[in-house]
Amino acid sequence: MTRLAHILAETLRNLRRHPLTALSSLLSLLLIFLLFDLFWVGAATARQFYDNLLRDLRMEVFVREDIPESGIPALRSNLLKIPGVAAADYVSKDQARRELMELVGTDLLVGYDTTNPLPRSFVLAISVDHLSVDRMQDVETAALKVQGVSQVYYSQSWLNKAESTNSMIQRVGTALGLLILAAALMASLNNIRLMTRARAVGFRQMFLLGAGRLFVAMPFILEGILISTTTAAGGWLLLVWAHQKVELTQMQLVMPETHLIIYYCLCAALLGLVSGYLGIRRQLR
Protein backbone atom coordinates (compact mmCIF):
# COMPACT_ATOMS: atom_id res chain seq x y z
CA MET A 1 0.00 0.00 0.00
CA THR A 2 2.87 2.31 0.95
CA ARG A 3 4.66 1.65 -2.31
CA LEU A 4 1.45 1.90 -4.33
CA ALA A 5 0.68 5.33 -2.89
CA HIS A 6 4.21 6.45 -3.73
CA ILE A 7 3.93 5.06 -7.27
CA LEU A 8 0.64 6.92 -7.84
CA ALA A 9 2.05 10.13 -6.40
CA GLU A 10 5.17 9.74 -8.52
CA THR A 11 3.02 9.35 -11.66
CA LEU A 12 1.26 12.65 -11.02
CA ARG A 13 4.56 14.22 -9.98
CA ASN A 14 6.05 13.26 -13.36
CA LEU A 15 3.27 15.10 -15.13
CA ARG A 16 3.51 18.11 -12.81
CA ARG A 17 7.28 18.40 -13.07
CA HIS A 18 7.29 18.20 -16.89
CA PRO A 19 4.05 19.92 -17.89
CA LEU A 20 5.19 20.90 -21.39
CA THR A 21 6.33 17.40 -22.26
CA ALA A 22 3.08 16.00 -20.91
CA LEU A 23 1.00 18.60 -22.75
CA SER A 24 2.73 18.04 -26.08
CA SER A 25 2.28 14.31 -25.63
CA LEU A 26 -1.41 14.78 -24.80
CA LEU A 27 -2.01 17.00 -27.82
CA SER A 28 -0.13 14.84 -30.32
CA LEU A 29 -1.86 11.68 -29.09
CA LEU A 30 -5.23 13.42 -29.09
CA LEU A 31 -4.75 14.40 -32.73
CA ILE A 32 -3.66 10.90 -33.69
CA PHE A 33 -6.61 9.28 -31.93
CA LEU A 34 -9.00 11.88 -33.33
CA LEU A 35 -7.79 11.09 -36.84
CA PHE A 36 -8.39 7.42 -36.19
CA ASP A 37 -11.86 8.13 -34.72
CA LEU A 38 -12.82 10.23 -37.75
CA PHE A 39 -11.73 7.47 -40.07
CA TRP A 40 -13.68 4.97 -38.01
CA VAL A 41 -16.86 7.06 -38.21
CA GLY A 42 -16.31 7.64 -41.93
CA ALA A 43 -15.75 3.96 -42.63
CA ALA A 44 -18.77 2.92 -40.53
CA THR A 45 -20.97 5.46 -42.29
CA ALA A 46 -19.74 4.34 -45.72
CA ARG A 47 -20.32 0.73 -44.72
CA GLN A 48 -23.87 1.44 -43.65
CA PHE A 49 -24.52 3.31 -46.89
CA TYR A 50 -23.16 0.36 -48.86
CA ASP A 51 -25.25 -2.11 -46.84
CA ASN A 52 -28.41 -0.07 -47.46
CA LEU A 53 -27.73 -0.03 -51.18
CA LEU A 54 -27.09 -3.76 -51.18
CA ARG A 55 -30.31 -4.42 -49.29
CA ASP A 56 -32.20 -2.63 -52.07
CA LEU A 57 -30.55 -4.76 -54.73
CA ARG A 58 -33.07 -6.91 -56.60
CA MET A 59 -32.74 -9.59 -59.28
CA GLU A 60 -35.23 -9.65 -62.12
CA VAL A 61 -36.12 -13.03 -63.61
CA PHE A 62 -38.03 -12.82 -66.93
CA VAL A 63 -40.57 -15.50 -67.81
CA ARG A 64 -40.69 -17.12 -71.24
CA GLU A 65 -43.68 -16.12 -73.40
CA ASP A 66 -44.78 -19.73 -73.90
CA ILE A 67 -45.34 -20.37 -70.18
CA PRO A 68 -49.08 -20.19 -69.47
CA GLU A 69 -50.41 -18.12 -66.58
CA SER A 70 -51.29 -21.41 -64.81
CA GLY A 71 -47.60 -22.35 -64.70
CA ILE A 72 -46.61 -19.21 -62.80
CA PRO A 73 -47.19 -20.59 -59.23
CA ALA A 74 -44.96 -23.62 -60.01
CA LEU A 75 -42.30 -21.35 -61.45
CA ARG A 76 -42.44 -19.12 -58.36
CA SER A 77 -42.13 -22.15 -56.13
CA ASN A 78 -39.05 -23.35 -58.06
CA LEU A 79 -37.45 -19.90 -57.82
CA LEU A 80 -38.02 -19.77 -54.05
CA LYS A 81 -36.16 -23.08 -53.72
CA ILE A 82 -32.93 -21.44 -54.96
CA PRO A 83 -30.55 -20.84 -52.02
CA GLY A 84 -30.35 -17.12 -51.23
CA VAL A 85 -33.77 -16.19 -52.64
CA ALA A 86 -35.81 -14.65 -49.83
CA ALA A 87 -38.89 -13.64 -51.82
CA ALA A 88 -40.21 -13.74 -55.38
CA ASP A 89 -42.79 -11.13 -56.39
CA TYR A 90 -44.59 -11.79 -59.64
CA VAL A 91 -44.96 -8.86 -62.06
CA SER A 92 -47.59 -9.49 -64.72
CA LYS A 93 -47.65 -7.79 -68.13
CA ASP A 94 -50.28 -5.28 -66.93
CA GLN A 95 -48.38 -4.50 -63.76
CA ALA A 96 -45.19 -4.03 -65.79
CA ARG A 97 -47.02 -1.61 -68.03
CA ARG A 98 -48.32 0.38 -65.01
CA GLU A 99 -44.84 0.55 -63.50
CA LEU A 100 -43.36 1.72 -66.79
CA MET A 101 -46.02 4.39 -67.00
CA GLU A 102 -45.24 5.54 -63.43
CA LEU A 103 -41.57 5.56 -64.27
CA VAL A 104 -41.69 7.64 -67.45
CA GLY A 105 -44.87 9.58 -66.71
CA THR A 106 -46.73 8.59 -69.86
CA ASP A 107 -48.03 5.41 -71.42
CA LEU A 108 -45.54 4.45 -74.07
CA LEU A 109 -47.59 1.45 -75.11
CA VAL A 110 -50.55 3.27 -76.67
CA GLY A 111 -51.43 1.21 -79.73
CA TYR A 112 -50.32 -2.04 -78.12
CA ASP A 113 -53.64 -2.43 -76.31
CA THR A 114 -54.21 -5.99 -77.52
CA THR A 115 -50.64 -7.24 -77.37
CA ASN A 116 -48.60 -5.98 -74.42
CA PRO A 117 -44.96 -6.55 -75.46
CA LEU A 118 -43.59 -6.22 -71.93
CA PRO A 119 -42.40 -9.54 -70.48
CA ARG A 120 -43.72 -11.09 -67.31
CA SER A 121 -41.16 -11.30 -64.58
CA PHE A 122 -40.34 -12.17 -60.97
CA VAL A 123 -38.50 -9.70 -58.76
CA LEU A 124 -36.30 -11.73 -56.42
CA ALA A 125 -35.29 -10.38 -53.04
CA ILE A 126 -31.91 -11.81 -52.05
CA SER A 127 -31.07 -12.71 -48.46
CA VAL A 128 -28.35 -10.56 -46.84
CA ASP A 129 -25.77 -13.37 -46.68
CA HIS A 130 -25.97 -13.79 -50.50
CA LEU A 131 -25.40 -10.12 -51.33
CA SER A 132 -21.95 -10.58 -52.82
CA VAL A 133 -20.65 -10.84 -56.38
CA ASP A 134 -19.92 -14.59 -56.22
CA ARG A 135 -23.14 -15.60 -54.50
CA MET A 136 -25.28 -13.41 -56.72
CA GLN A 137 -23.73 -15.17 -59.70
CA ASP A 138 -24.66 -18.52 -58.15
CA VAL A 139 -28.27 -17.33 -57.74
CA GLU A 140 -28.28 -16.09 -61.36
CA THR A 141 -26.97 -19.44 -62.67
CA ALA A 142 -29.51 -21.39 -60.62
CA ALA A 143 -32.37 -19.13 -61.79
CA LEU A 144 -31.41 -19.58 -65.45
CA LYS A 145 -31.65 -23.34 -64.99
CA VAL A 146 -35.27 -23.13 -63.82
CA GLN A 147 -37.73 -24.25 -66.47
CA GLY A 148 -39.60 -21.26 -67.92
CA VAL A 149 -36.98 -18.59 -67.22
CA SER A 150 -35.78 -16.70 -70.29
CA GLN A 151 -33.43 -14.10 -68.84
CA VAL A 152 -32.01 -12.87 -65.52
CA TYR A 153 -30.96 -9.30 -64.84
CA TYR A 154 -29.36 -7.51 -61.90
CA SER A 155 -26.85 -4.63 -61.48
CA GLN A 156 -23.80 -6.83 -61.70
CA SER A 157 -21.34 -4.11 -62.69
CA TRP A 158 -22.59 -1.85 -59.88
CA LEU A 159 -22.21 -4.72 -57.43
CA ASN A 160 -18.65 -5.35 -58.66
CA LYS A 161 -17.71 -1.70 -58.20
CA ALA A 162 -19.38 -1.44 -54.82
CA GLU A 163 -17.66 -4.54 -53.55
CA SER A 164 -14.21 -3.49 -54.77
CA THR A 165 -14.74 -0.02 -53.22
CA ASN A 166 -15.75 -1.62 -49.95
CA SER A 167 -12.75 -3.92 -49.93
CA MET A 168 -10.46 -0.96 -50.73
CA ILE A 169 -11.91 1.00 -47.79
CA GLN A 170 -11.24 -2.01 -45.56
CA ARG A 171 -7.62 -2.31 -46.77
CA VAL A 172 -6.98 1.43 -46.40
CA GLY A 173 -8.62 1.27 -42.98
CA THR A 174 -6.36 -1.55 -41.86
CA ALA A 175 -3.25 0.22 -43.18
CA LEU A 176 -4.31 3.52 -41.61
CA GLY A 177 -5.14 1.77 -38.36
CA LEU A 178 -1.69 0.19 -38.22
CA LEU A 179 -0.06 3.49 -39.13
CA ILE A 180 -1.98 5.34 -36.44
CA LEU A 181 -1.21 2.60 -33.93
CA ALA A 182 2.50 2.94 -34.70
CA ALA A 183 2.28 6.75 -34.51
CA ALA A 184 0.44 6.63 -31.19
CA LEU A 185 2.94 4.12 -29.82
CA MET A 186 5.89 6.25 -30.94
CA ALA A 187 4.39 9.49 -29.61
CA SER A 188 3.67 7.95 -26.23
CA LEU A 189 7.01 6.12 -26.15
CA ASN A 190 8.95 9.30 -26.95
CA ASN A 191 7.15 11.14 -24.23
CA ILE A 192 8.08 8.49 -21.66
CA ARG A 193 11.66 8.51 -22.96
CA LEU A 194 11.88 12.27 -22.52
CA MET A 195 10.59 11.93 -18.99
CA THR A 196 12.98 9.11 -18.14
CA ARG A 197 15.97 10.91 -19.66
CA ALA A 198 15.24 13.88 -17.43
CA ARG A 199 15.25 11.57 -14.44
CA ALA A 200 18.03 9.11 -15.30
CA VAL A 201 20.02 10.15 -12.20
CA GLY A 202 17.10 9.30 -10.00
CA PHE A 203 16.81 5.72 -11.27
CA ARG A 204 20.37 4.94 -10.25
CA GLN A 205 19.74 6.31 -6.78
CA MET A 206 16.57 4.29 -6.41
CA PHE A 207 18.32 1.08 -7.44
CA LEU A 208 21.15 1.80 -4.99
CA LEU A 209 18.58 2.30 -2.24
CA GLY A 210 17.18 -1.16 -3.02
CA ALA A 211 14.17 -0.27 -5.14
CA GLY A 212 12.87 -2.99 -7.44
CA ARG A 213 12.44 -2.62 -11.18
CA LEU A 214 8.67 -2.56 -10.92
CA PHE A 215 8.84 0.18 -8.28
CA VAL A 216 10.97 2.32 -10.59
CA ALA A 217 9.08 1.53 -13.80
CA MET A 218 5.49 1.62 -12.56
CA PRO A 219 5.03 5.43 -12.46
CA PHE A 220 6.12 5.67 -16.10
CA ILE A 221 3.96 2.77 -17.20
CA LEU A 222 0.99 4.29 -15.36
CA GLU A 223 1.75 7.62 -16.98
CA GLY A 224 1.66 5.99 -20.43
CA ILE A 225 -1.66 4.33 -19.58
CA LEU A 226 -3.09 7.57 -18.18
CA ILE A 227 -2.11 9.70 -21.17
CA SER A 228 -3.22 7.15 -23.78
CA THR A 229 -6.56 6.43 -22.13
CA THR A 230 -7.30 10.10 -21.48
CA THR A 231 -6.56 11.12 -25.05
CA ALA A 232 -8.49 8.17 -26.54
CA ALA A 233 -11.53 8.96 -24.42
CA GLY A 234 -11.07 12.71 -25.02
CA GLY A 235 -11.05 12.16 -28.78
CA TRP A 236 -14.37 10.35 -28.63
CA LEU A 237 -15.91 12.94 -26.33
CA LEU A 238 -14.94 15.65 -28.82
CA LEU A 239 -16.40 13.66 -31.68
CA VAL A 240 -19.65 12.87 -29.85
CA TRP A 241 -20.00 16.54 -28.94
CA ALA A 242 -19.40 17.58 -32.55
CA HIS A 243 -21.87 14.94 -33.76
CA GLN A 244 -24.58 16.37 -31.54
CA LYS A 245 -23.91 19.89 -32.85
CA VAL A 246 -23.73 19.06 -36.55
CA GLU A 247 -26.77 17.81 -38.46
CA LEU A 248 -26.32 16.23 -41.86
CA THR A 249 -29.43 16.07 -44.04
CA GLN A 250 -28.14 13.76 -46.77
CA MET A 251 -26.46 11.21 -44.59
CA GLN A 252 -26.64 10.08 -40.98
CA LEU A 253 -23.20 9.61 -39.40
CA VAL A 254 -22.76 6.23 -37.77
CA MET A 255 -21.19 6.50 -34.31
CA PRO A 256 -19.82 3.30 -32.75
CA GLU A 257 -21.70 1.78 -29.85
CA THR A 258 -20.64 2.66 -26.31
CA HIS A 259 -19.18 -0.76 -25.55
CA LEU A 260 -16.97 -0.49 -28.64
CA ILE A 261 -15.68 2.90 -27.45
CA ILE A 262 -14.92 1.34 -24.05
CA TYR A 263 -12.98 -1.49 -25.74
CA TYR A 264 -11.18 1.12 -27.82
CA CYS A 265 -10.15 3.04 -24.68
CA LEU A 266 -8.98 -0.23 -23.09
CA CYS A 267 -6.86 -0.89 -26.19
CA ALA A 268 -5.45 2.63 -25.83
CA ALA A 269 -4.61 1.81 -22.20
CA LEU A 270 -2.79 -1.31 -23.39
CA LEU A 271 -0.95 0.80 -25.94
CA GLY A 272 0.07 3.18 -23.13
CA LEU A 273 1.27 0.24 -21.04
CA VAL A 274 3.43 -1.08 -23.88
CA SER A 275 4.83 2.34 -24.75
CA GLY A 276 5.47 3.10 -21.06
CA TYR A 277 7.40 -0.14 -20.67
CA LEU A 278 9.35 0.37 -23.90
CA GLY A 279 10.13 3.95 -22.88
CA ILE A 280 11.65 2.96 -19.55
CA ARG A 281 13.09 -0.44 -20.53
CA ARG A 282 16.59 0.85 -21.27
CA GLN A 283 16.84 2.51 -17.87
CA LEU A 284 16.02 -0.74 -16.11
CA ARG A 285 18.99 -2.68 -17.42
Binding site: M1, T2, R3, A5, H6, R13, N14, R17, R199, V201, G202, Q205, M206, F207, L208, L209, G210, A211, G212, R213, F215
Partner: protein, 271 residues
Protein backbone atom coordinates in the same frame (compact mmCIF):
# COMPACT_ATOMS: atom_id res chain seq x y z
CA UNK B 1 49.14 -4.39 7.43
CA UNK B 2 49.42 -7.72 5.85
CA UNK B 3 46.84 -7.69 3.17
CA UNK B 4 49.36 -9.31 0.88
CA UNK B 5 48.91 -12.43 2.95
CA UNK B 6 46.57 -14.44 0.78
CA UNK B 7 43.92 -16.54 2.40
CA UNK B 8 42.53 -19.55 0.62
CA UNK B 9 38.77 -19.39 0.04
CA UNK B 10 36.97 -21.06 2.90
CA UNK B 11 33.42 -22.29 3.42
CA UNK B 12 31.05 -19.43 4.22
CA UNK B 13 30.29 -20.48 7.78
CA UNK B 14 33.94 -20.78 8.64
CA UNK B 15 34.71 -17.40 7.21
CA UNK B 16 32.05 -15.74 9.29
CA UNK B 17 33.51 -17.13 12.46
CA UNK B 18 37.13 -16.57 11.71
CA UNK B 19 39.12 -13.84 13.35
CA UNK B 20 39.81 -10.67 11.49
CA UNK B 21 43.22 -11.68 10.32
CA UNK B 22 43.46 -10.12 6.93
CA UNK B 23 44.13 -6.44 6.28
CA UNK B 24 44.97 -5.72 9.88
CA UNK B 25 44.16 -2.09 10.57
CA UNK B 26 46.84 0.43 11.37
CA UNK B 27 45.16 1.46 14.55
CA UNK B 28 42.65 -0.99 15.86
CA UNK B 29 40.51 -0.15 18.85
CA UNK B 30 38.46 -3.25 19.50
CA UNK B 31 35.64 -2.39 21.83
CA UNK B 32 32.40 -4.24 22.32
CA UNK B 33 29.49 -2.78 20.45
CA UNK B 34 27.24 -0.92 22.79
CA UNK B 35 23.80 0.59 22.99
CA UNK B 36 22.45 -0.72 19.72
CA UNK B 37 19.24 1.11 18.86
CA UNK B 38 15.94 -0.68 18.97
CA UNK B 39 14.51 -1.89 15.69
CA UNK B 40 10.95 -2.74 16.53
CA UNK B 41 9.65 -0.89 13.48
CA UNK B 42 12.00 -2.48 11.00
CA UNK B 43 10.33 -4.29 8.13
CA UNK B 44 11.59 -7.72 7.12
CA UNK B 45 13.78 -6.28 4.37
CA UNK B 46 15.80 -4.14 6.73
CA UNK B 47 16.68 -6.61 9.44
CA UNK B 48 17.92 -5.74 12.87
CA UNK B 49 21.62 -5.46 13.57
CA UNK B 50 23.65 -8.57 12.89
CA UNK B 51 25.34 -10.19 15.87
CA UNK B 52 28.78 -8.81 16.65
CA UNK B 53 30.63 -11.95 15.50
CA UNK B 54 29.05 -11.79 12.06
CA UNK B 55 31.05 -10.57 9.10
CA UNK B 56 29.19 -7.75 7.37
CA UNK B 57 31.60 -7.09 4.49
CA UNK B 58 34.20 -9.50 3.20
CA UNK B 59 36.60 -9.03 0.28
CA UNK B 60 38.35 -12.23 -0.82
CA UNK B 61 41.37 -11.73 -3.09
CA UNK B 62 39.57 -9.05 -5.06
CA UNK B 63 41.00 -7.74 -8.31
CA UNK B 64 39.46 -4.71 -9.98
CA UNK B 65 40.45 -2.90 -13.17
CA UNK B 66 39.14 0.30 -14.68
CA UNK B 67 37.39 0.20 -18.07
CA UNK B 68 40.74 1.20 -19.62
CA UNK B 69 42.51 -1.74 -18.01
CA UNK B 70 44.23 0.24 -15.26
CA UNK B 71 44.53 -1.79 -12.08
CA UNK B 72 42.54 -0.40 -9.14
CA UNK B 73 42.76 -3.27 -6.64
CA UNK B 74 45.14 -6.20 -6.61
CA UNK B 75 44.47 -9.23 -4.42
CA UNK B 76 42.51 -7.19 -1.90
CA UNK B 77 41.34 -9.05 1.16
CA UNK B 78 39.37 -7.21 3.79
CA UNK B 79 36.78 -7.94 6.41
CA UNK B 80 34.38 -5.80 8.43
CA UNK B 81 32.58 -7.27 11.41
CA UNK B 82 29.16 -6.25 12.70
CA UNK B 83 29.28 -3.20 14.94
CA UNK B 84 32.71 -2.14 13.66
CA UNK B 85 33.76 0.83 11.57
CA UNK B 86 36.44 0.93 8.89
CA UNK B 87 37.92 4.33 8.14
CA UNK B 88 39.73 4.14 4.81
CA UNK B 89 41.88 6.97 3.54
CA UNK B 90 43.71 7.40 0.27
CA UNK B 91 44.59 10.06 -2.28
CA UNK B 92 42.21 11.04 -5.09
CA UNK B 93 41.95 8.27 -7.68
CA UNK B 94 43.21 5.59 -5.31
CA UNK B 95 39.96 3.60 -5.57
CA UNK B 96 37.99 4.72 -2.53
CA UNK B 97 34.73 5.19 -4.41
CA UNK B 98 35.39 1.98 -6.37
CA UNK B 99 35.54 0.18 -3.02
CA UNK B 100 32.12 1.59 -2.13
CA UNK B 101 30.80 0.58 -5.55
CA UNK B 102 32.02 -2.96 -5.02
CA UNK B 103 30.29 -3.14 -1.66
CA UNK B 104 27.00 -1.79 -2.99
CA UNK B 105 27.18 -4.18 -5.96
CA UNK B 106 27.39 -1.35 -8.48
CA UNK B 107 30.57 -2.93 -9.89
CA UNK B 108 31.75 -6.51 -10.00
CA UNK B 109 35.39 -7.48 -9.36
CA UNK B 110 37.50 -8.88 -12.20
CA UNK B 111 38.44 -11.72 -9.86
CA UNK B 112 37.77 -12.66 -6.26
CA UNK B 113 34.55 -12.31 -4.31
CA UNK B 114 32.79 -9.48 -2.50
CA UNK B 115 30.46 -10.67 0.20
CA UNK B 116 27.96 -8.46 1.99
CA UNK B 117 25.87 -9.85 4.88
CA UNK B 118 27.15 -13.29 3.93
CA UNK B 119 25.93 -13.00 0.33
CA UNK B 120 28.33 -12.98 -2.61
CA UNK B 121 27.16 -10.25 -5.01
CA UNK B 122 28.08 -12.09 -8.16
CA UNK B 123 25.86 -15.07 -7.37
CA UNK B 124 22.82 -13.16 -6.20
CA UNK B 125 19.66 -12.63 -8.23
CA UNK B 126 18.29 -9.16 -8.90
CA UNK B 127 15.74 -9.59 -6.11
CA UNK B 128 18.38 -10.71 -3.61
CA UNK B 129 20.61 -7.76 -4.55
CA UNK B 130 17.65 -5.47 -3.97
CA UNK B 131 17.17 -6.93 -0.49
CA UNK B 132 20.86 -6.54 0.36
CA UNK B 133 20.86 -2.91 -0.80
CA UNK B 134 17.91 -2.12 1.42
CA UNK B 135 20.15 -2.95 4.38
CA UNK B 136 22.78 -0.45 3.33
CA UNK B 137 22.63 3.31 3.87
CA UNK B 138 24.85 5.57 1.81
CA UNK B 139 26.26 9.08 1.82
CA UNK B 140 28.41 10.68 -0.88
CA UNK B 141 28.58 11.30 -4.60
CA UNK B 142 27.41 7.81 -5.47
CA UNK B 143 24.33 8.23 -3.30
CA UNK B 144 23.12 11.51 -4.74
CA UNK B 145 19.64 12.79 -3.97
CA UNK B 146 16.67 12.26 -6.27
CA UNK B 147 16.27 15.60 -8.06
CA UNK B 148 12.53 15.16 -8.50
CA UNK B 149 11.86 14.73 -4.78
CA UNK B 150 11.96 17.27 -1.97
CA UNK B 151 14.42 16.87 0.91
CA UNK B 152 11.75 15.22 3.07
CA UNK B 153 10.67 12.90 0.24
CA UNK B 154 14.29 11.93 -0.36
CA UNK B 155 14.74 11.11 3.29
CA UNK B 156 11.52 9.06 3.32
CA UNK B 157 12.37 7.11 0.15
CA UNK B 158 14.25 4.22 1.87
CA UNK B 159 11.25 3.80 4.20
CA UNK B 160 8.83 3.71 1.26
CA UNK B 161 11.01 1.20 -0.57
CA UNK B 162 11.11 -0.90 2.59
CA UNK B 163 7.30 -0.70 2.75
CA UNK B 164 6.96 1.04 6.12
CA UNK B 165 3.45 2.30 6.99
CA UNK B 166 2.75 6.02 6.71
CA UNK B 167 2.57 6.70 10.44
CA UNK B 168 5.91 5.10 11.19
CA UNK B 169 7.41 6.91 8.23
CA UNK B 170 6.20 10.25 9.55
CA UNK B 171 7.58 9.56 13.01
CA UNK B 172 10.99 8.54 11.71
CA UNK B 173 11.07 11.43 9.26
CA UNK B 174 10.33 14.04 11.90
CA UNK B 175 12.91 12.53 14.25
CA UNK B 176 15.67 12.49 11.67
CA UNK B 177 14.84 15.90 10.18
CA UNK B 178 15.02 17.34 13.66
CA UNK B 179 18.27 15.52 14.39
CA UNK B 180 19.93 17.01 11.29
CA UNK B 181 18.19 20.44 11.56
CA UNK B 182 16.45 19.98 8.24
CA UNK B 183 12.88 20.78 9.25
CA UNK B 184 12.94 24.13 7.47
CA UNK B 185 14.29 22.54 4.30
CA UNK B 186 11.82 19.66 4.24
CA UNK B 187 9.94 20.88 1.16
CA UNK B 188 12.94 22.17 -0.77
CA UNK B 189 14.14 20.37 -3.91
CA UNK B 190 17.84 19.32 -4.07
CA UNK B 191 18.60 21.82 -6.85
CA UNK B 192 17.86 24.62 -4.38
CA UNK B 193 19.96 23.17 -1.57
CA UNK B 194 23.58 24.11 -0.91
CA UNK B 195 26.24 21.42 -1.03
CA UNK B 196 26.34 21.26 2.76
CA UNK B 197 22.56 20.99 2.98
CA UNK B 198 22.55 18.21 0.41
CA UNK B 199 25.16 16.32 2.44
CA UNK B 200 23.00 16.75 5.54
CA UNK B 201 19.96 15.39 3.68
CA UNK B 202 22.03 12.40 2.53
CA UNK B 203 23.07 11.74 6.14
CA UNK B 204 19.42 12.03 7.21
CA UNK B 205 18.41 9.58 4.49
CA UNK B 206 21.13 7.15 5.56
CA UNK B 207 20.07 7.51 9.21
CA UNK B 208 16.31 7.28 8.84
CA UNK B 209 15.98 3.52 8.55
CA UNK B 210 18.84 2.48 10.83
CA UNK B 211 20.27 0.12 8.24
CA UNK B 212 22.93 -2.20 9.69
CA UNK B 213 25.61 -1.00 7.25
CA UNK B 214 26.44 2.60 6.46
CA UNK B 215 28.75 3.58 3.58
CA UNK B 216 30.10 7.10 3.66
CA UNK B 217 32.10 8.51 0.77
CA UNK B 218 34.11 11.70 1.46
CA UNK B 219 31.81 12.80 4.28
CA UNK B 220 33.52 15.99 5.27
CA UNK B 221 34.79 17.36 1.96
CA UNK B 222 34.05 21.07 1.59
CA UNK B 223 32.13 21.40 4.84
CA UNK B 224 32.32 24.31 7.22
CA UNK B 225 33.73 23.68 10.68
CA UNK B 226 30.38 23.56 12.49
CA UNK B 227 28.84 21.06 10.05
CA UNK B 228 32.06 19.07 10.02
CA UNK B 229 32.00 18.76 13.81
CA UNK B 230 28.32 17.79 13.75
CA UNK B 231 28.83 15.06 11.22
CA UNK B 232 31.90 13.69 13.00
CA UNK B 233 29.77 13.65 16.14
CA UNK B 234 27.07 11.73 14.25
CA UNK B 235 29.63 9.22 12.94
CA UNK B 236 30.95 8.90 16.47
CA UNK B 237 27.44 8.01 17.65
CA UNK B 238 26.92 5.51 14.83
CA UNK B 239 30.20 3.78 15.52
CA UNK B 240 29.03 3.31 19.10
CA UNK B 241 25.54 2.19 18.16
CA UNK B 242 26.32 -1.32 16.95
CA UNK B 243 25.82 -0.44 13.29
CA UNK B 244 28.69 -1.12 10.91
CA UNK B 245 30.18 1.71 8.94
CA UNK B 246 32.74 2.12 6.16
CA UNK B 247 34.00 5.64 5.71
CA UNK B 248 36.25 6.51 2.79
CA UNK B 249 37.92 9.88 2.80
CA UNK B 250 41.01 11.65 1.55
CA UNK B 251 41.62 13.09 5.00
CA UNK B 252 41.94 11.57 8.45
CA UNK B 253 39.23 12.52 10.97
CA UNK B 254 39.87 15.20 13.56
CA UNK B 255 38.61 12.89 16.26
CA UNK B 256 39.15 9.19 16.70
CA UNK B 257 36.01 7.09 16.37
CA UNK B 258 35.29 4.17 18.69
CA UNK B 259 35.28 0.55 17.38
CA UNK B 260 37.10 1.80 14.33
CA UNK B 261 39.89 0.28 12.26
CA UNK B 262 41.94 2.65 10.13
CA UNK B 263 43.22 1.69 6.68
CA UNK B 264 44.96 3.35 3.81
CA UNK B 265 44.72 2.48 0.13
CA UNK B 266 48.22 2.38 -1.36
CA UNK B 267 48.85 1.14 -4.89
CA UNK B 268 45.67 -0.94 -5.03
CA UNK B 269 46.26 -2.56 -1.66
CA UNK B 270 44.67 -1.89 1.70
CA UNK B 271 47.25 -1.21 4.37
Amino acid sequence: MDNEQKTAPQPENDRHNEDQTTSTPRDSQPEPASSAPEHRDQPADVQSQPSSDMVVVQFDNVYLNTDHGHEVFRDLTFCLRAGCTAYITGPAGSGKTSLIRLIIGDRMPAAGAVEVFGEVWRWRSRRQRMRIRRRIGGVGGLFDLMPSLTAAENVTLPLIIAGLPRRQRQEKLLRVLGEFSLLKLANVYPERLTRVERTMVQFARAAVNDQPLLLIDEPTAGLDRTTYDRLVEYMFKVSQSGRSMIIVSSEVPSRELPNTDYYEIVNGALL
